[in-house]
């Protein structure tokens, strides 16, 4: 995986997409977190391979996705030829079997250790959407899909705008909440791609991201996670008006399970020092401590302010 500077990569992406689509792009994932916390520090980098671009609102996501893909392909960006579903779908391909749009910049060899690609996603159509859904997108080359996950709408809630680029990035606390809700327990499934030479449980990687964000937050921004609880409540009320209270009650259950499992915690720690915290000298105990602060300050406060 490449060690990249978040500000440089986001500038490349913003320059490459159609101007009238920038307003619809929210960068999510580790690059967004890296931009939020150390875009002004040239000594800090993040190790990642995928630049996740969430297209919003859902109503225009398909049109905007088509326009972005068209422009990138015309500019010689090229598809990722690794993993399943490398070829475009047809009108007969079921939505959930469509390939995602994953494109490398021109001239980049995808076998290169430092190569990165962009991937297009969207937010769910409705708060009732459960699990992973695919939205069809049609271009001359064939049919593609925009994946969405139930809690991605949280990452698109009041994102921060990068004024000079015209695109947005997700607020880190929202990515943390989305990951926590996505994993109410430690699930056994392991990721298909490796971290170094290890195949990590997806839950541990995603909840590890919560800890990494928390670590950076207290290093760079706040010392008190209770503020997150109020941001979380606003987002949950807006994105899930019917279920927000129940979600508030269970938001911390997966993270608590992680903190209490030394084996899973070690995997989460490994993903942090391999990825978002690769240029920080952080100890596992410090991440555990951050986890306790997120639980005690943010999660407990969220439960308290969400009422009975």
């Amino acid at each position: 995986m490449s060690q990249i500077n978040a500000a440089d990569v986001l500038k490349n992406v913003a320059d490459a997409v159609p101007e009238d689509c920038r307003e619809n792009i929210v960068i999510i994932g580790s690059l967004a977190a890296a931009y939020a916390y150390f875009s002004n520090d040239s000594n800090k980098a993040v190790r990642t391979k995928d630049i996740d671009c969430l297209l919003k609102p859902f109503l225009v996501a398909s049109d905007k996705g088509e326009a972005i893909t068209r422009k990138l392909l015309d500019a010689k960006w090229h598809p990722r030829l690794i993993g399943e579903r490398q070829t475009p779908g047809t009108p007969d391909t079921p939505d959930n079997e469509l390939p995602a749009v994953r494109l490398y910049p021109p001239g980049v060899d995808q076998g290169d250790e430092n190569a990165w690609f962009i991937e297009l996603l969207t937010e769910p159509e409705s708060p009732k959407d459960l699990g992973k859904k695919w939205t069809r997108m049609i271009i001359d080359e064939g049919h593609f899909g925009l994946p969405s996950f139930r809690y991605l709408s949280l990452t698109a809630f009041r994102p921060e705008k990068i004024e000079e680029l015209g695109i947005y990035y997700a607020r880190p606390q929202m990515m943390a909440l989305a990951n926590m809700l996505e994993h109410p327990e430690i699930k056994p499934e392991r990721m298909s791609t490796t971290y170094g030479d290890r195949r990590i449980k997806r839950t541990n990687k995603d909840l590890g991201r919560v800890l990494a964000i928390g670590y950076l937050e207290q290093e760079k921004v706040i010392k008190d996670f209770r503020k997150w609880a109020y941001d979380w409540r606003d987002a949950l009320q807006s994105c899930f008006p019917d279920d927000w209270k129940n979600m508030s009650m269970v938001a911390g259950s997966g993270l608590r399970a992680l903190l209490e499992s030394p084996e899973d915690m070690e995997e989460a720690y490994y993903t942090c020092v391999y990825g978002l915290l690769s240029t920080f000298g952080v100890r596992q105990g410090a991440l555990l401590e951050v986890g306790e602060r997120i639980m005690g300050d943010a999660v407990d406060t969220l439960i308290e302010i969400s009422g009975p």
Partner: protein, 348 residues
């Protein structure tokens, strides 16, 4: 869940009193047990009840026992041979340390597991309220010093008893040991006539053992001001600031820069309540292990009167407590400065 009743007679037995009952679970509580015979006695009491009540269960809670895990296991095995299996299978021993279960012999039901902490908290309160005779000398010395520093004048012996929780004979015996510094009045009141230097140095020397302190630390410690902000939000009148903050209250011009650690004094709290409180200050704080340097220290005061002082928005621990905090934090010169200031003020 069924209601917990404390110190009740068990029905259908010969008026046997137990520490707590919840439904058909009967609890006996023993704190700081060092003698195995106390365990035998409590265990056989429960076994006797189980013999009478075939659908009940008996749980013996051992709080902060000095008896080792392997020794307890041996005793458990011995008891299993002495007591009928039908009775023994309904008995459990639970060992609690610092408010958490560290060992179980036998199985608790889920309901019993849920209430163990609550029962321990409640029953340990009674135990904590009983002052230890071995602490009498230093506890009474501390009270006399605080009264002397504050210029409150002579103290009636019954007032000393109220403040310290010790009986008249214990107080009399203690006063004999510091007779040279004591001025006795005709109305049976007493006061210090001068600073008891020898006793003071003894107190400093043994204060780590006499005081009940718990230290906490974090990898990324929070700013002390941040912790104090949280403390004031809580507005809990059982908590007082000691250490440097207290020293500044008593001597605003004291030569101290920054606050390397936060000393807080609480009044007769259980260890569970202290840990819960610390979590509200900062959930990232952890108990120190031997050799680690604490960033937050909680000192538990057991005497009936806390002798806390009121500042603007905070309570302040008494003068002696603050001095001991400074010595404990190795801030000897600041402690000496504060002590001299308090003595001078008293002699004026």
């Amino acid at each position: 869940m069924e209601r917990i009743r404390y110190e009740v007679e068990v029905e259908d037995t010969c008026k046997t009193r137990v520490d707590a009952i919840m439904g058909k679970s009967i609890f006996e509580y023993k704190a700081r047990v060092t003698d195995i015979r106390i365990i035998h006695s409590a265990f056989f009491l429960l076994a006797g009840i189980m013999a009478d009540l075939s659908d009940h269960r008996g749980i013996l809670i051992l709080d902060e026992t000095k008896i080792s895990g392997p020794r307890l296991k041996n005793e458990w095995e011995t008891l299993s041979k002495l007591i009928q299996p039908l009775i023994f299978s309904r008995l459990v021993i639970v060992v609690i340390f610092n408010g958490a279960i560290i060992k179980k012999l036998g199985d608790l039901t889920s309901e019993e597991s849920e209430v163990i902490s609550e029962i321990q908290e409640k029953l340990s309160q009674k135990f904590r309220n009983q002052p230890r005779k071995s602490d009498a000398f230093f506890e009474i010395l501390r009270i006399l010093l605080v009264y002397w520093f504050r210029g409150y004048g002579p103290l009636q012996l019954n007032k000393v008893s109220q403040l310290s929780g010790f009986s008249y004979p214990t107080i009399a015996l203690t006063l004999e040991k510091m007779e040279v510094y004591i001025k006795r009045h005709s109305d049976r009141s007493i006061e210090l006539k001068s600073f008891p230097g020898d006793s003071w140095f003894k107190l400093i020397a043994v204060s780590d053992g006499v005081r009940k302190s718990r230290g906490y630390w974090a990898y990324q410690p929070k700013n002390i001001d941040n912790l104090i902000e949280r403390l004031t939000e809580k507005n809990d009148y059982d908590v007082a600031c000691g250490g440097i903050i207290g020293a500044r209250f008593y001597l605003p011009g004291i030569d101290l820069v920054g606050i390397p650690r936060l000393d807080l004094s609480v009044h007769n709290w259980s260890t569970g309540k202290i840990d819960k409180f610390v979590r509200t200050l900062d959930p990232g704080l952890k108990r120190i292990e031997t050799g680690e340097i604490p960033q937050v220290v909680i000192h538990n005061i057991f005497r009936p009167d806390s002798l806390f002082n009121q500042s603007n928005h905070l309570q302040i621990a008494d003068e002696v407590e603050c001095l001991l905090d400074l010595y404990e934090a190795r801030q000897e010169s600041q402690a000496s400065e504060l002590l001299e200031h308090l003595k001078e003020r008293t002699y004026q």
